[in-house]
Amino acid sequence: MHDLSPITALGGSAARVETVGAVTLTERPDVALASVAARRGQAEACATALTRLLGAAAPAPGKSSAGDPFSAVWMGPGQWMLSADFTTHEDIAAMLKDALADMASITEQTDAWTCFDLTGQGAFAVLELLCNVNLTTFHAGNATRSTIHHLGCFVICTEPDTSVRIIGPRASAGSLHHAITTAMAAAL
């Protein structure tokens, strides 16, 4: 076991939590991420293999799939972002490589991103100040890439108006966090 201590994307040793009104923003450093991109001609085989891994169909465009241990978000044609618990799946890329063999190109993405959960009644009122996602049709299991504060983010709906996951670029975690918390103060 190595002896380097990690810091979160916001620079702390523990996850940051902010609450305004009924809505809480939680930094989630405990999410491991890896991208899975099907090799040419392997999209269907790859989707089938992912279905086995996820215990549910590989998400279609604009969708996500939540499971245990793996969840997935559609990223692009033949491409998915898989996530799992960091403590048990820090080596998510290697695990997926074993599972998907030559079907797909796997790239570790854990620390390319910072993950935030926005939970509580009124989360959508915050979200509408942040990005152009159509919230009138943003149901559980919907996921999209959108721009927040000029940052390309994944926005995933786990429960309309009460639970949203935002995954944004790690190096800009401070700016993203600032944007979300000011929107919380403005909207709630």
Binding site: G62, W74, G76, P77, N132, T144, R145, S146, G152
Partner: protein, 90 residues
């Protein structure tokens, strides 16, 4: 503008980066092209007042490049295709 993404549905054009004419996909064949062909490809652009086929890169989305057929006068968009699919099937 709204671009109707073939996979993701209507998306704000602000999510895209404009890459120019769809003619850029027709790169000259390096084995047979003349210097004039290369010159035309690199430098000559039509500037139609009307229908224009152009490339839009979904930078803020799924990273697909779309071929958008757009009327440059009215901004009406009459067709949207995935560049990769279109090329691969051609």
């Amino acid at each position: 503008m709204i671009i109707n993404h073939p996979l993701l549905g209507p998306r704000d054009s602000a999510e895209f980066v404009y890459l120019g004419t769809a003619d850029l996909m027709n790169r000259p064949d390096p084995d047979t092209a003349t210097p004039e062909d290369w010159h035309d490809y690199a430098y000559l652009r039509d500037n139609p007042a009307g229908t224009h086929r152009e490339l839009w890169f979904h930078d803020g989305g799924d990273r697909s490049i779309l071929i958008v057929t757009r009327d440059t006068i009215t901004h009406e968009i009459s067709a949207v295709e995935l560049a990769l699919k279109t090329r691969a099937e051609a």
